[in-house]
């Protein structure tokens, strides 16, 4: 007998040790997320994947699945709050979608659309953040960093390099680069590294590839993030 739990009334099979997110993806159920990517160790920081497990809020990407759990993923309350969390990410950084190269390929933007976000709701921080364009092939626009740590994990777990880290406390957190000068050009990052290609927003971009795919023909111009995520992430769930 396979073990199962329920998400919004649907029976989800799971294997011992799987998280709710892993089991849900494998079963074709999308749970909104930004800091999660099935290739890497779950982080649990963006909190978009918060679901109610037997009435209690838990992060689906880190919380273990167990027999008979009753999980609520889609509800008015949860989606409205996910929208607010997304709005928080928008006001914390400086995200100007129309002028961002990542538009249409950006997961932050796609999640916002998915949640029917129509404004930023909260007052903007308008923090002065810098751009590091020192590297020949890769640039960092700190205005768009959402501290998901995907680049940190990709560099450590896939590239074996530790190029990135998140430093500092609270609202002063910043993405930092492992080089004596602090600049990307002096780090070990190579343009082909996984870490250079993993950013869900436009914070880390590959140079000289801008607009090679025109706006209108990009990933989320034609498909919703739930369908894209399930198609691309569903199969690698047990890595």
């Amino acid at each position: 007998m396979t073990k199962t739990f329920e998400i919004d009334g649907k029976k989800i099979p799971y294997e011992e040790g799987q998280t709710i997110m892993q089991a849900a993806s494998a079963a074709g159920v999308y749970i909104a997320h930004l800091c999660h990517n099935p290739q890497f160790t779950p982080h649990g920081s963006c909190k978009l994947c918060t679901v109610k497990v037997n009435g209690r809020n838990c992060s689906a990407c880190t919380f273990p699945a167990s027999e008979g759990q009753n999980v609520t993923n889609v509800s008015k309350e949860l989606n409205e709050d996910r929208e607010k969390i997304t709005q928080m990410l928008f006001v914390e950084g400086n995200h100007f979608c129309p002028s961002c190269e990542k538009t249409g390929n950006c997961q932050l933007q796609a999640v916002a659309y998915h949640l029917n976000m129509t404004d930023n709701h909260y007052p903007h921080f308008f923090e002065n953040r810098e751009v590091d364009a020192s590297h020949p092939d890769v640039m960092i626009d700190h205005n768009r960093c959402i501290f998901c740590t995907l680049c940190v994990r990709a560099s450590e777990e896939v590239d074996g390099k530790n190029v990135f880290a998140i430093s500092g406390r609270g609202i002063d957190k910043r993405l930092i680069v492992n080089s004596k000068s602090g600049l990307l050009k002096d780090s070990e990052l190579d343009g082909n590294d996984c870490a250079a290609h993993i950013c869900p927003t436009g914070a880390i971009l590959i140079k000289r590839t801008g607009y090679s795919v025109p706006i209108g023909q990009r990933i989320y111009d034609h498909a919703h993030i739930d369908a894209v995520a399930l198609a691309s992430e569903g199969e690698v769930h047990d890595l």
Binding site: K84, E92, Y122, A165, K173
Partner: protein, 592 residues
Amino acid sequence: MHNYILQIAQENDFQSTRLLKILHAIQKRYFYIPDNAIEVLAEQLQLPRTHIQNVVAFYSFFHTQSSGKYTILISDSITDLMLGKSDLMSYFEQKLKVDIGSVRADGLVSLNNTSCTGMCDQGPAGLVNGYALTHLTKPRIDQIVNYVNRETPLAQWDSDLFRVDDNIVKPDLLLNEKPLHGHAITSTLTRGLSETLAEIELSGLRGRGGAGYTTAWKWKFCREENATQRYIICNADEGEPGTFKDRVLLNSYADSVFEGMTVAAAIVGATQGFLYLRGEYVHLLDKLEAVLEARRVSNLLGSNILQNGFDFDIEICLGAGAYICGEESALIESLEGKAGIPRNRPPYPVTQGYLGKPTVVNNVETYVAAANIAVHGGAWFADKGTSKSKGTKILSISGDCKARGIYEYAFGTTVKTILADCGAIDVLGVQVGGPSGVFISNDEFERKIAFEDLATGGSFIIFNHTRSILDVVHNFSHFFAHESCGFCTPCRVGTSLLKKQVDKIVEGHGSAGDIVALEELCQVIKNYSHCGLGQTAANPVLSSLERYPEIYQAMLKKISYEPGFDLDKSLETARRMANRDDAAAHLAQVEN
């Protein structure tokens, strides 16, 4: 510099877990952590430099630029503000000739604010190079300024400036007991380990940090884990503003604290313990080390303790200014030499704690209680208190009352009784459990200190009718925004938004919609944050909004909407660039 860093690294066996200790040593010598030191350390400890940079940036007490030979920090706790901190701060600024938050031009001294230093019974308080300054007054500030300007070494300053009193006003069960020198260990070994655990369970002892988890269960789960190594940790990161009872227990009952840890170690089978001491209590460090040394000499620590074949020792680790490290998994991260970011749970520390091994983390007071229960038995303790909250609770009482200090009460005692005992009159309300707790109004003084009613880690701040609720809320919102570790979105961004929103209302820019927005924001922070800090950060607003909606309403403007930023102030850059300051270059916030 290279050789000095090398020496420090060597003294710490090149262990990355000792990173905080190493950084403290470097800062003591150079008054900041130089970039070169980070480079050398990264190489010696085999850590990415970014790891060390992150740790330095995360903890308030580490600096990347010199903060002067004398770093003066003044506690920004609400209790210090009530004792006239703001005036004294201005006086300090003026006398030292340095702006708050900066280093004086000659590089000798810096002045800044810091979160509560745990001296609420003897404030206004502060720290100089980490050492506690108490009872600050203008004459004492004059004295300090003179020492600084003459570059007098700290050791030659008038010791009265550093005088820290225990102020035990009302002892009961635990505080009436003498510090233990082996009696709890012999009782435990004579009675038997399982039998002693049964006594702890019988006592009904629950964690004294505030969360109230049953101590015996924690020990039992840790004991039952299949592991070769286990750890005992004492959480002495007493950071909740308004709490200072652990400071007193460590000052005068340290032997009982260590004895409780040793009893726990015997029961769960641990050989190594840690006392995580908040950086603000560095003045206790030498004394505590001496107590540990004396216990080693008496064979109460070390190998083959009291010839019973069990080994256990305790190491003291010093924090560096981060409230979040009071959260047990953040504390463990800090002990491992990392930034104090709470872990995802499960797994819990009893199964995977320090270095992934089963770990018991308990509060200072919990160990004192456990040690005394090991001597006197569970019934001795369970005899006091209520059915769900056994024994006594040590409270740190501060704010508007005659006798600030330490009070021990049987659980179930009413707020009214406590207020009468400490001589509080004309009381507006009491903040029970610190900023993360609850504000109760004078209609609620029949409520009881107990897990089932007013659960508290021990902070008890009294406000009389001259105080403004909004000042309190303002102070607490700033506190949480400053202390959020920044790991999760709702707390990182939410606490800063909350700070801004409270500022907007307190400064008189709020309009009708702002109260609704405030409450809605509070709910997101409370329901979606990763750990207890975020989950309780909105409590000051929520509990005051529930009790005093009219105070908030009175602050609002009679307009339907006002933007969250100051329009005129935002035009400052444009005015400067256009070299204009005429009336037409200014815009009113809202057209009337």
